[in-house]
């Protein structure tokens, strides 16, 4: 379907990228003109995002379109390609941008480090580079876009660069992003084969054509997993997430967590299923295991956080883990030729990408509003905000319920699909894998249940109870622009939760592209027997779920109960103080703090944490209790690596003598040695 004015879909995508870049450049000319930037440019960016979402949605079912941009180096132009996979992720990018940019328009304030105009440029370059990553069809364009994405997001993370912790967080992020990028570069190097194709070897079209042997394809996949895992926050490369998210301004956190992490998922899917053709079963098992460990780790750490954005960052790690579990399952099924099941697992992954993008962006934006209203991210200083910020609280509740994977909201749909994929695993031709599947399913179920715990903690400590600080009663609700961003994302959560059948039908084209079959294609008419209300991916006899019926029946029962109580009895209310078992002296400090609420999990999962406690003695007049929960991996992996690197650097520093003649000597010796080698 060509768009209006005879433009192809891919032309629209390129126009969108150009428009975002133009908006960014537009901001440079008036970097201090705050109303112009916040009231014109950001909403314009949001509008462009909406346009992108619509165009990408229209392109979902189309045959792939390609394009060569006359950019880049001589003989090395940018190749672009728009297929269903790109279109899906572009749709995600556009839809999230629409919400986040509108929110940002109302959220960003003048006095925050980087000048608003420069920040606006960085933000829009970030958006454009993400879109380019998703469109790139050769390694060169991909890496250029990937690196500009990393750099622009680095600058955004360090917006408040006057604070040393933020600079440190940004540094860590940049470091891990680049370690990952190197791995990706090597991966593309492996993928392009023996170099017969010359410069053209770096196009994805060429890489698709090459049939690598088991060793090289495993090497390429391993490198891709490492590279994209570093961006996604896969264990053990997750450490930057809990540092960078609290540092970044909230819309940027939302964008990074909701969308940027998904580009890594996109990359794994692109390399694992599109560029490589024959997955080996142990890739699947490895990815599955890594995913499970990441998911459990993320959620266990999320439970003990007391900074609301760190909590969400760990929750993102958990969700990334679940996505990788789904990818691992898909790879395993695909390697054994079970396409219908692979399609089911992949559908759950794609659906969860959409879900996570919607609810995590929403929750990060909610923290942003709370942060502006209260000036603190510390859960121990919040509480009772539902009375002062009803809009944010109720929309946040939607995000929380979605994130906790509760029906009838969206998180539940993908969890449901994933569990179905686990459940209908018929005998895999391998004993250990066969028995690992139930254990993995159990771990997924445990993660999902723990996510509920975490989300209750997040919401209850921020919004419910009594305000833990006196100044909280001056908190104000979000403004109109912020609110509309929140409403848009919450609406996405609800829509994805209530109408999964529409979305999954659309996802079929992506699974067809990657696996050769889609769940609707596999199940045939049986899946559609109950119409749009019933989600029945295999057949209604086996499993079905109807969120709309579900929600309606709950609402009907609620309404009936209310009306009956009102009709037969009364709805009188007497307002007094809280009872609390007759305890007379209640203060806000007697509620559970964030630490208190997480304490049972800290006890149950004690071996996972590296805890340092400061307990007051019983005679202490001003007792202070402090507990610091850290990550073992810092001490087991990162510090040793850092030490080795430092040691190596000190060795190399020996070469640095400070005299020009010695440096010239180095050059000379190198030249001589090289000449000798060439000659030999």
């Amino acid at each position: 379907m060509p768009g209006a004015q005879g433009l192809l879909s891919i032309d629209w995508m390129v126009l969108v990228i150009a428009a975002w870049l133009a908006i960014g450049i537009g901001a440079i000319f008036a970097p201090r003109n705050f109303p112009y930037i916040s009231r014109v440019l950001y909403p314009a960016g949001a509008l462009v995002g909406l346009l992108l979402a619509v165009a990408a949605f229209a392109a979902l079912n189309q045959t792939p379109e390609t394009m060569v941009l006359p950019l880049g180096l001589p003989d090395l132009p940018f190749h672009l390609r728009l297929d269903s996979l790109s279109a899906l992720f572009l749709m995600l990018l556009g839809a999230c941008t629409a919400g986040i940019s509108i929110f940002a328009a109302g959220y960003l304030r003048k006095a925050e480090g980087t000048a608003p105009g420069v920040q606006c440029l960085q933000y829009h370059v970030f958006l454009a580079s993400m879109a380019l990553v998703l469109l790139a069809d050769d390694a060169y364009a991909f890496m250029v876009a990937w690196e500009s994405m990393a750099l622009s997001s680095f600058f955004l993370v360090t917006s408040d660069h006057r604070i040393p912790e933020i600079r440190r967080a940004g540094y860590l992020y940049l470091l891990i992003a680049h370690v990952g990028a190197i791995s990706l570069l090597l991966c593309f190097g492996v993928l392009q084969g023996n170099g017969d194709a010359g410069v053209a070897g770096y196009t994805f079209a060429n890489m698709r054509g090459i049939d690598h042997n088991a060793f090289w394809s495993s090497a390429a996949f391993g490198l891709a997993l490492f590279g994209f895992g570093a961006k996604a926050g896969l264990l053990p490369l997750h450490v930057w997430l809990p540092e960078a998210h609290p540092a970044a301004p909230s819309p940027v956190s939302a964008m990074m967590s909701g969308v940027m992490l998904k580009t890594a998922i996109y990359g794994v899917l692109r390399v694992g299923f599109d560029l490589l053709h024959h997955p080996l079963w142990w890739w699947g098992v490895a990815v599955l295991t890594l995913g499970l460990v990441t998911a459990l780790f993320g959620v266990i750490f999320a439970a003990v956080q007391s900074d609301m954005k760190r909590l969400l960052a760990y929750s993102s790690i958990e969700n990334i883990g679940l996505l990788f579990v789904g990818i691992g399952l898909t790879l395993t099924f695909q390697s054994f030729g079970m396409r219908a099941l692979a399609a089911l697992a992949l559908t759950s992954v794609l659906y969860h990408c959409l879900n996570h993008a919607a609810f995590k962006s929403l929750l990060f934006l909610v923290t942003g509003s709370v942060l502006h209203a209260t000036q603190t991210r510390n859960l121990g200083k919040l509480g009772g905000l539902i009375h002062y910020m009803p809009w944010v609280a109720w929309l946040g509740l939607l995000g929380v319920l979605s994130s906790a994977g509760l029906p009838p909201f969206n998180g539940f749909v993908s969890e449901w699909l994933l569990l179905q994929a686990f459940l209908f695993t018929p005998g895999l031709p391998h004993g250990y894998i066969n028995m690992m599947i139930p254990v993995a399913a159990a771990a997924v179920a445990l993660t999902a249940a723990l996510a509920g715990y975490v989300m209750v903690k997040f919401f209850a400590v921020i919004f419910l109870g009594q305000p833990r600080e006196a100044k909280l009663n001056q908190a104000h609700d979000a403004g109109r622009l912020e609110r509309s961003g929140l409403v848009w994302l919450a609406a996405l959560c609800v829509a994805l939760g209530l109408f999964p059948v529409f979305v999954i039908e659309k996802l079929d084209s992506v699974t067809r592209l990657l696996l050769g079959t889609g769940i609707y294609q596999a199940a045939g008419e049986a899946a559609r027997a109950h119409g749009w209300m019933y989600l029945a991916p295999i057949s209604p006899d086996r499993a079905s779920y109807a969120p709309v019926v579900f929600l309606l029946s709950i609402l009907v029962i609620v309404a009936a109960a209310y009306l009956i109580v009102r009709r037969f009895w009364h709805i009188r209310v007497r307002i007094t103080g809280a009872w609390d078992c007759g305890f007379p002296m209640q203060t806000a400090r007697m509620q559970d703090t964030a630490e208190g609420f997480g304490q049972p999990l800290r006890q149950v999962f004690e071996p996972f944490y590296r805890m340092t406690r400061e307990l007051p003695s019983s005679f202490d007049k001003a007792p202070v209790y402090r507990v610091v929960v850290e990550d073992h991996l810092w001490y087991w992996l990162y510090l040793p690596v850092a030490k080795v690197t430092e040691f190596g650097a000190r060795m190399v520093a020996f070469l640095q003598q400070g005299r020009i003649s010695i440096y010239l000597l180095y050059s000379f010796v190198t030249l001589v040695v090289l000449l000798f080698l060439i000659h030999g």
Binding site: Y432, M435, V439, V604
Partner: protein, 226 residues
């Protein structure tokens, strides 16, 4: 309707499968149990399961010597050994909770891994075996390993002995389920061994306690220095 149903198995094989599952269940219950008294009762229940399974195998395959071993199991493992153990703990006065070296959930998690391991280990063997109860071999192996795990994770002497006896139960179950029992002589010999072993260990308990004033075998670590 589905591949999961297995209606083709004869009835007694299903009963043996059920009993095998119960044996495993009891092994796990022992792993999770802190009280010595309950541990002995669980051991007794294992004896009952063993007795029942041996009797069923005997009835199904019409092998008379198995009736005898069922009877021996009943007398030895349901009545005699639990009775001795009960007497022992009353004399030693050690009814209190046992502290485990690793906490219970972790132990169970390791147990789960062991079960997966032994199930997979048994798969090729059971595929070769021609007996009706071949799939129970994996469970028997799992029961042995779980008993072993229990011995490792307990620091008191009495639970360790119970673990040892439970291990013998697993072996015995493997023998009946995989090969329809051992020759009578061997079986009698083992029964006697177990009994004698029990008595000797009983004597040891008193000795250990006299020496260290406790049945905590971690005290034995001190012997190393001598």
């Amino acid at each position: 309707m589905s591949t999961g149903l297995h209606l083709d198995l004869p009835f007694y094989a299903q009963v043996i499968n059920l009993l095998a599952a119960m044996l495993l269940l009891l092994s796990f219950a022992m792993l999770a149990q802190r009280r010595i008294l309950s541990l002995i009762n669980l051991f007794m229940a294992q004896g009952v399961v063993l007795f029942a399974s041996t009797a069923v195998v005997a009835a199904a395959t019409n092998q008379h010597h198995l009736y005898w071993s069922a009877l021996i199991t009943l007398v030895l493992k349901v009545f005699l050994l639990p009775w001795i153990l009960h007497r022992l703990i009353r004399r030693l006065n050690v009814k209190w909770d046992i502290e485990t070296l690793i906490n219970i959930p972790t132990t169970m998690m390791i147990g789960l891994v062991l079960v997966i391991f032994s199930f997979n280990l048994a798969l090729p063997i059971s595929a070769l075996a021609g007996t009706i109860t071949r799939s129970t071999l994996g469970i028997a192996m799992a029961a042995v390993m779980l008993a072993f795990l229990m011995m490792i994770t307990r620091s008191k002497a009495v639970p360790q002995v119970i673990g040892f006896l439970a291990m013998e139960n697993g072996l015995f179950f493997a023998a009946t389920s995989a090969t329809y029992g051992m020759p009578m002589v061997v079986e009698l010999g083992i029964a006697l061994d177990v009994l004698v072993g029990m008595v000797i260990l009983g004597v040891f308990f008193f000795q250990i306690r006299e020496q260290f004033d406790s049945l905590d075998i971690r005290h034995m670590e001190k012997l190393k220095d001598d």
